[in-house]
């Protein structure tokens, strides 16, 4: 029963924002409160799914949430919650600056909530096809959000995003069709033939050759949405041009949702083809992503693009974790959770920085810690978190990842990835230190937002710290049962 409010509250928020005319302030508050509610519901959902139970809803088990879904639902709802709550500051300001008319404000709210809804749907849909539809729908919802500001850059970014994203997702549909074809050809048409649970159950009867083919299409297709190299090309553009709350959600939540789709298919393919195939694919593409991110971060001149490439890196790392087998999966999931917390934080703050300094160039920002001590400090903490330093969660998950890599018997690959991680560390830190320190420009306004505004960000950093020191017992069992979902 939790699934209805989970999916319902963003829909309700979307409807509210679309229907209430003229736009009222309380709509924003309601929207934010509903996203908090969604997060709470996601937590409750996760609690229900702790011990491997699945919640099913609707005809033909239309929706089904097991522990793997719960992990991603948590991630999506959490990211959405932080972004919408903090995003209010962004919206208030854009509005008072007159950069955001009422019409667009309404559209922003409506589309954001639709976006959240589609992501939640993607992770709770039982049917592969519906999941595909939901993921495709995220593209449509976000395309307008990226182009909200209607600058040339925003239009360019949206076009690239929508074109590359649509093509990718279309390829994923080819994979889906091939999988369905395999199923129909081998098992015969049944009810719920495209349902996960059914696919996994009969996977050993499927044809391995076709499943391989299908997985390649799925990997490239959803991988495009996930920002895996070399299909990542839209990502830096979209993330850097989108409004900060949207960048935060896209990076923290959307990319993992695409990976979720890959993971679901991996479970099916593994059960059919046997271990090794998907792992190798994922490892190749993961390592490639990390390397490409490293190459592009070395001389990166824009800080939002920098954060975007860092997303490429982390998605690549998660992919590697998926490839490292049962030990790597919980690491990768933790990695995505921590990454969501850290990346939403820094993306949201990057919006503040952009507003204050009016430039996206690293060289244009200096003395951040002096201009905005609180925001700068939180930004620094978020970046340190992203770099995988303790006591933040990514340290722990990267630790687990590397351990899994070595334990799985890929010391050279893991070593290579470590080298790339080092390069990224050095480059990123160099860029960020240029922003944080030094003397601020002359005419810049100093001071933070009211401290209370930073509460959501502080909370998400607090979660990040907790994830970096102790894995709470419930989360661990959730992850364990998620591993069972994938590896049986």
């Amino acid at each position: 029963m939790l699934l209805i409010p989970l999916l319902g509250s963003p829909l309700l928020a979307a409807a509210l924002s679309w229907l209430v005319r003229p736009y009222r302030r309380w709509v924003g508050i309601a929207s934010a409160s509903l996203s908090v509610a969604t997060f709470v519901i996601a937590i409750l959902l996760a609690r229900r799914c702790l011990d491997g139970a699945a919640i099913v809803l609707g005809p033909m088990e239309f929706l089904r949430a097991d522990s793997l879904s719960a992990v991603f639902a948590l991630l999506v709802a959490g990211g959405a919650c932080v972004s919408t709550v903090f995003g209010r500051s962004y919206l208030d300001r854009e509005r008072s600056d007159g950069r955001l008319g009422e019409d667009r404000l309404r559209r922003f709210h409506a589309l954001t909530n639709v976006f959240i809804f589609t992501m939640l749907l993607a992770v709770t849909a039982h049917n592969v096809g519906i999941m595909w539809v939901a993921v495709e729908a995220t593209t449509i919802a976000t395309a307008f959000l990226i182009g909200l500001e209607r600058s040339e850059g925003a239009i360019e970014a949206s076009w690239k995003y929508i074109l590359i994203g649509s093509i990718g997702i279309a390829l994923a549909f080819v994979g889906t069709v091939l999988g369905y074809f395999d199923f129909v050809a081998r098992v015969g048409p049944t009810d719920g033939a495209l349902n996960w649970s059914v696919l996994v159950r009969v996977a050993d009867r499927l044809d391995p050759d076709i499943m391989r083919l299908s997985f390649v299409f799925v990997l490239i297709g959803y991988g495009t949405k996930a920002g895996l190299a070399p299909m990542h090309t839209w990502l830096p553009d979209a993330h850097s041009e989108a409004p900060a709350p949207i960048s935060a959600m896209m990076s923290g939540a959307l990319l993992p949702v695409a990976l979720y789709a890959v993971l679901r298919w991996k479970a099916v393919t593994d059960a059919c083809v046997g271990d090794g195939f998907t792992d190798h694919m994922l490892m190749i593409i993961g390592a490639l992503s990390v390397a490409v991110a490293a190459a592009l971060l070395v001389r990166q001149a824009h800080y939002k693009r920098m954060l975007a490439y860092s997303s490429v890196e982390h998605v690549g790392l998660a992919c590697l974790g998926f490839g490292f087998g049962p030990a790597g999966l919980p690491a990768a999931l933790l990695h995505l959770l921590s990454h969501a917390a850290a990346k939403s934080t820094v993306f949201l703050l990057s919006g503040e920085i952009l507003h204050r300094y009016r430039t996206t160039r690293v060289s244009g920002v200096s003395g951040l810690l002096k201009t905005m001590p609180l925001a700068g400090g939180l930004f620094l903490a978020g970046i340190l978190g992203l770099l995988g330093l303790p006591p933040f969660g990514l340290f722990l998950s990267e630790f687990l990842l590397i351990r899994a890599g070595f334990a799985a018997g890929y010391p050279r690959l893991t070593g290579f990835v470590l080298l790339m991680v080092l390069l990224i560390f050095i480059s990123l830190l160099g860029h960020v230190s240029r922003m944080l320190y030094g003397s601020p420009p002359e005419a810049i306004h100093r001071g933070d937002l009211p401290a209370a505004r930073y509460v959501p960000i502080a909370l998400s950093l607090a979660i990040l710290v907790i994830l970096g020191l102790v894995i709470p017992g419930p989360l661990a069992s959730l992850l364990r049962s998620a591993v069972e979902v994938v590896y049986g």
Partner: protein, 219 residues
């Protein structure tokens, strides 16, 4: 209808679909692109109707009707309107010239055969002969997107790709479940509309639909 005739008809339809896609590669004007796309969609509708008739599947008939309305009527019309509004742009100076494009299309078809080989091997369906062709039109669509400069021709390329996928779904599995099909239609429609909106925006912002000009975001 005997199996042989059915097979022949379906393969013929698939070939026509592919040829209609390849036709885009040698045509030089946007209206011609749109026309080719409409024709391709029409061939698919025909194929679906034939299949529906053979399988006596009402759902497929519904799908065929939807497809006709959307891809043969609405989308080409919308595209023509957009094209009139934003201008022809005499785009059509592709990155890759026509002979090479055609050669690549041939290679892509071969690749599609190679890739689809296990699928064909596994399938007992009479439609299996068309599956590589459907995959080939996916590839050709992709190639169109990659090699054409105008935003509108990229949309057309994308739609050609979609058509290929739709054909593949029909040939391989006699149609995915209806709800999925409906979702897909909705997505394609919405995606198409969004793209259309952005074509206007690109035109407004850059005074051209040549997406090659969209290169300020890089590195």
């Amino acid at each position: 209808m005997s199996v042989e005739i059915f097979t022949t008809v379906m393969t013929l339809a698939s070939s026509l679909v592919l040829l209609a896609g390849i036709a885009i590669l040698w045509r030089r004007s946007l209206p011609a692109y749109i026309h080719a796309f409409a024709r391709q969609s029409f061939f698919i509708v025909v194929a679906v109707l034939v299949l529906a008739a053979r399988e006596r599947d009402r759902e497929l008939v519904l799908v065929a009707l939807l497809m006709f309305a959307l891809k043969v009527v609405f989308m080409p019309a919308a595209l023509r309107r957009v094209q009139r509004h934003v201008g022809a742009d005499a785009d059509v100076r592709p990155y890759v010239n026509t002979p090479v494009s055609l050669a690549i299309a041939g290679i892509l078809t071969l690749v599609a055969y190679a890739v689809a080989q296990p699928v064909v091997a596994l399938s007992h369906l009479p439609t299996r002969g068309g599956m590589p062709l459907a995959l080939a039109s996916v590839f050709v669509g992709l190639f169109i997107v990659a090699s054409r400069r105008s935003a509108l021709s990229q949309i057309v390329g994308f739609l050609v790709m979609e058509n290929g996928i739709a054909l593949l779904a029909v040939l391989a599995t006699y149609g995915v479940p209806l709800i999925v099909e409906l979702g897909v239609f909705l997505d394609v429609l919405l995606g198409f509309l969004v793209m259309q909106v952005f074509v206007y925006r690109i035109r407004d912002a850059f005074e051209t639909t040549d997406v090659d000009r969209l290169r300020s975001l890089r590195h």
